[in-house]
Symmetry: C2
């Protein structure tokens, strides 16, 4: 079976000045995830590594570089899912954790639960000896500035979140040579969100889903819209009925646009190694790596290809 890793760095109106940084970032993360597969790691190991790479990169809204909520605080959401067992772990509204995807994996592997939220997620992190960091460590000077600007711009919380304000969740999907699929998604959510707001990212079937019998998906875009249509699960329902990864993604994104007027982006792999990266936002940074090639893009329809060094 052909092993593949696909990552995204968020579907939104990426400004020109960030274009190079986000494309470079997703390429690096995809290569990082793929190197895990080459060293014999599982799809689950690969998506965790790729998402950690994106969380560590301040260019992206996840882990380091996350956006601030209405209180000027950082609350992070993440999920990881193993297509072999449908086992999954997630955290919502967790603070002070630089790599929420790894905390999500610990929820999956070390508790009988699937989702821990807020203080409970932090208590669990502490109980397993996972290091926490001060909030300021996660926040960039640029984000403090953007947050102040945003607060003076918006009238209140009923602002249209389908607007140009950033929704740059990160995510990864992978299939390993045994045909096992996995997904992971991580985000700081929406800038100036209400305290305790949870978006699609940590919600199974919405921000991500992985099932060896159909494939793996990670989503990004307007979280509330993704939740309403359970976007990840919807794409895999189409794939279960024999549609390709690309067609399933397009159908589901089109439905989300028509039914709830939301835009977003998705990355998908099938157990046989078919993959897709589709979006209805202005831009989405994505990259995919298989045996000999790296593909990537940012604009609609864009698909650059590079040979991998061997």
């Amino acid at each position: 079976m052909p092993a593949v890793v696909v990552v995204h760095g968020g579907a939104w109106s990426v400004p020109d000045k960030l274009a190079k940084a986000v494309v470079d970032g997703v390429k690096m993360a995809a290569l990082d995830g793929f190197s895990v597969l080459e060293r014999g790691g599982t799809a689950l190991d690969a998506v965790e590594a790729a998402v950690r790479n994106l969380e560590d990169n301040v260019t992206f809204n996840a882990g380091h570089g996350a956006v601030l909520n209405a209180d000027g605080d950082v609350e992070l959401d993440a999920i990881i899912m193993d297509g072999r067992t449908l086992g999954s772990g997630a955290v919502s509204s967790v603070k002070n954790i630089p790599n929420p995807v790894s905390l999500a994996r610990a929820v999956m592997e070390k508790t009988p639960h699937l989702l821990l939220t807020s203080r409970g997620a932090n208590l669990f992190a502490e109980s397993i000896g996972m290091a926490s960091v001060p909030t300021d460590t996660l926040v960039t000077a640029n984000e403090r500035e953007k947050w102040e600007e945003h607060r003076s711009y918006v009238a209140g919380v009923r602002e249209d979140f389908n607007s140009k304000w950033a929704h740059d969740t990160v995510g990864a999907v992978a299939v390993d040579s045994a045909g096992n699929v996995a997904c992971a998604t991580s985000t700081g959510g929406i800038r100036n969100k209400m305290v305790g707001r949870v978006g699609d990212a940590p919600i199974i079937g919405c921000g991500g889903y992985a099932d060896n019998s159909s494939g793996a998906v990670s989503c990004t875009g307007h979280g509330e819209s993704i939740l309403k249509v359970t976007l990840a699960r919807l794409i895999l329902s189409h794939m279960e009925q024999g549609k390709s990864a690309a067609e399933s993604s397009q159908l589901a994104l089109q439905y989300m646009g028509e039914r709830v007027r939301g835009a977003g982006g998705v990355i998908v792999v099938s157990p046989s190694g078919q993959w897709a990266a589709e979006f209805t936002t202005v831009r989405m940074s994505w990259a995919a790596v298989a045996k000999d090639n790296l593909w990537y893009g940012l604009e609609p329809g864009e698909r650059f290809e590079e040979a991998l060094p061997h």
Copy 2:
């Protein structure tokens, strides 16, 4: 269109001494929800009323009568969803709120978000003037006793939650005479759960889903298993493909048993007024009300019928 309300009081090994109380409770709640429809309320109004009734009844694990977590505290989860718009509101891990389903509805109607968690959910409740109550108001003497007993019984958090310990989420689904469907689910979760554990109840597509184009579902049972298979969404996927409410429920519950070894129960309505109440646990209390009849049951295959007084 025939209007219908169906409610459940949880799918688990209901002990004999509780049998009468849970059956009486679901009958009352279903009648309460149906009376809302008769007075011209929407399906959304009906499911909120039915679930509030169950939350107010200390027999059930939701609102008053909720179970205690590992800290001896009450953390509540709830969702409500409107099949007209796919609009939905939910709260997870909220404290001191006697009717979480109404807070969930306020999240849907008064914020741009779908899910608020923990402290953020309580801050929101405060901001809209929703009364909070001391934890002790929600906890019964019987629950304090059961919680002590449970703590001395279990070795740790890795206990098998598929066991006989209570999972009695409550829920309601309804279709009104205009063919609009809605669902609501509310729970205290699993006794002695980790702090911050969120189960299926407040998760869209898992604890509930409502879509005028297919139907409405509310789920109960082993939360982690329901999450893994996104049970509510799975049932509606079968219905979208033309299967009946009962067959779709049976297929999805059977799949959950085979794939992740979880048991549960569901109630379902279709936009045309077809309904079902199915479960794979030992017992599930449920009741359904339509124009002239009340149906109810507790044991597998049981379906009692009473004429409604007019």
